[in-house]
């Protein structure tokens, strides 16, 4: 007997179908992770130079529609093609069918996270038997950032660049003590203002800019240049060389453990590096327990705090199901996206998607 269709599974669970447009404004996707995804997007322009794209995924289109409708809570499902430039293979991977759900504005994060995964698991059917499941929680990184002793603007930088591993690594090196040296006039000015009080330093920089004949072109104001220059002066003067923090962060990010052991391993790491992470670890433990109750085999699934970091909008629970035919399903929590897309306030959200064609391919490949 054929597996129930994803649509049936979602409807039975009380989700309502939504059908966002295939054609989306390209801006929205480019703005999220910048022109970095430009190469995977299929873009089209209209006669007036407006740039559109074929939707590369459903989450952003669905959220946009909910915001337009003034909806602050919804349980929706979708099914349809998504478009991503394939990596030069000839088997038509530019257009793929995807089905999934979004739980927006839910009040019980733990329950919603688990339900999302459970639904994807159901859609994967017997393909789950040979699949590899990975879990993560990007909220843990936030907790680690709060727990270490870094200036606020450094926390902001690390948080903002977490999804881009190379840039993040560079930032860590600066925290580890590799402060770039400054030469020339800027270096001299730095040396000079280092001994001044904050107000005097500000005045000195301001004067230098206004009286030196340097023209303030470009959209930045003298005030903002001054403010940032002072911040750099503080960075250079302060003893930012804290390799212990770098070690703590690197160890944490390299961590991988079976789901059922993850809380213990995390607690041990927190103790070793003197980090107060109890509430965050507790949440991981509770969710892990709920997932294992759903399916005992998940106790052996890998839990990795760095997992899912390259998706720029995930903020918490993240998961992926890998099968022989490739990624069968994936998803995660993205609590910041609705507000970023224009909702009046922060709205919690979690979702998951499955690739039905790959699930079927895996199923039929089994003896």
């Amino acid at each position: 007997m054929a597996e129930p269709s994803c649509g049936d599974v979602f409807e039975r669970a009380g989700f309502e179908r939504c059908q966002p447009a295939i054609l989306q404004p390209a801006d929205i996707f480019l703005d999220r992770s910048g022109d970095a995804i430009r190469r995977r997007l299929f873009t089209v322009s209209d006669a007036m130079g407006g740039e559109y794209c074929l939707r590369p995924e459903f989450t952003i289109p669905v959220c946009r529609d909910l915001i337009s409708a003034g909806s602050e809570a919804a349980r929706v499902w979708y099914e349809g093609p998504i478009f991503r430039l394939g990596r030069g293979t000839a088997n038509g991977t530019n257009e793929m069918l995807q089905a999934g759900i979004e739980i927006v504005g839910g009040q019980d994060a733990l329950a919603d996270d688990v339900e999302t995964f459970a639904l994807m698991r159901t859609c994967c059917g017997s393909a789950m038997n040979a699949a590899t499941v990975t879990f993560g929680d990007l909220g843990l990184f936030d907790a680690v950032l709060e727990a270490v002793d870094l200036p606020a603007h450094w926390r902001g930088r690390l948080r903002k660049h977490f999804w881009h591993a190379d840039v993040f690594a560079l930032l860590l090196r600066r925290i580890g003590g590799e402060v770039p040296s400054v030469s020339g006039e800027a270096g001299q000015l730095l040396g000079f203002i280092r001994h001044l009080g904050r107000d005097a330093a500000k005045a000195a920089v301001h004067d230098m800019l206004t009286s030196s004949g340097i023209k303030p072109i470009g959209g930045r104001t003298i005030e903002e240049i001054t403010a940032r220059f002072l911040e750099k002066a503080e960075d250079a003067a302060s003893d930012l060389a804290t390799p212990e923090i770098v070690t703590a962060i690197e160890t944490f990010l390299a961590l991988k453990a079976p789901l059922d052991r993850a809380p213990d391993v995390l607690a041990a790491l927190a103790k070793t590096h003197g980090l107060a992470l109890d509430p965050a670890i507790d949440a991981v433990a509770k969710r892990g327990d709920a997932l294992i109750m759903l399916d005992a085999a998940l106790g052996a699934a890998t839990f990795a705090p760095a997992f899912g970091r390259e998706i720029e909008y995930y903020t918490g629970f993240v998961f992926e199901v890998q099968g022989q035919a490739g990624k069968l399903a994936g998803g995660g929590r993205y609590d910041g996206l609705m507000e970023a897309l224009g909702a009046r306030q922060a709205i919690s959200a979690v979702g998951g998607a499955v690739w039905p064609a790959r699930v079927q391919a895996t199923g039929s490949a089994r003896p």
Binding site: G34, A36, R174, V182, E185, M208, I217, G219
Partner: protein, 250 residues
Amino acid sequence: MTGFVFALPSKGRLQDAAFALLDKAELAVDRSKGGRGYTGTIAALPDVNVLLLSASEIAAGLAAGELHLGITGEDVAREAAVDFDHSVALLRALGFGWADVVIAVPESWIDVWNLADLRDVSLDFLARHKRRLRVATKYANLAHQFFTEHGLSEYRIVHSLGATEAAPSSGAADLVIDITSSGATLAANDLKTIEGGTILKSEAQLAASLKATWGANDLGQLAAILNALEPGSAESTIKDFTARLKVSPL
């Protein structure tokens, strides 16, 4: 156009240097219409069709497979080809036409010394002004690739048709990506370079199209040109080139 097509720069110092190079190699170009036309002939190679085009047109022609061979800047060649490695083969660096493609920011940004600063500023700017930094440039593709590689995502490209370096003064952009050789024009426009901000160190190249149709005769013309420029150099270059032709789907 049937037959082997060899494109040369139609004006400026690039043209002078290219013609001088070919002269020296006994491949002097006779330009039609009293030296002002857009076609030419090379006495030693009667089967070669010479076209005179702008450096950008040569780059675009190579990328599209409309020309076999051309002399043009590496900067425009890379900019014109979306999938450069499968479209254009750089056969010989020619030792002239030096220009660096660089990021240049206003001199007044005394807090911006390197790429890391630019990254920070791009985030700070967005938060403060609710819009992204605008980058004026002719090199949109090079800019996107470079910024992606270096984790800079909060920017918008403003396509520049003319004097790119005047864009910040006129308010059309906040910073620029442009070619510079002496830095004099940058300084004159109150701009400065930043550490790590060199996107490409470009020079004139003898470049061949991986998208054009190459018959035995065409390869023969290429060999003749290569050997005229540097005796004995054709064999290994042609060998590598044909190998690359095989793996670059048309």
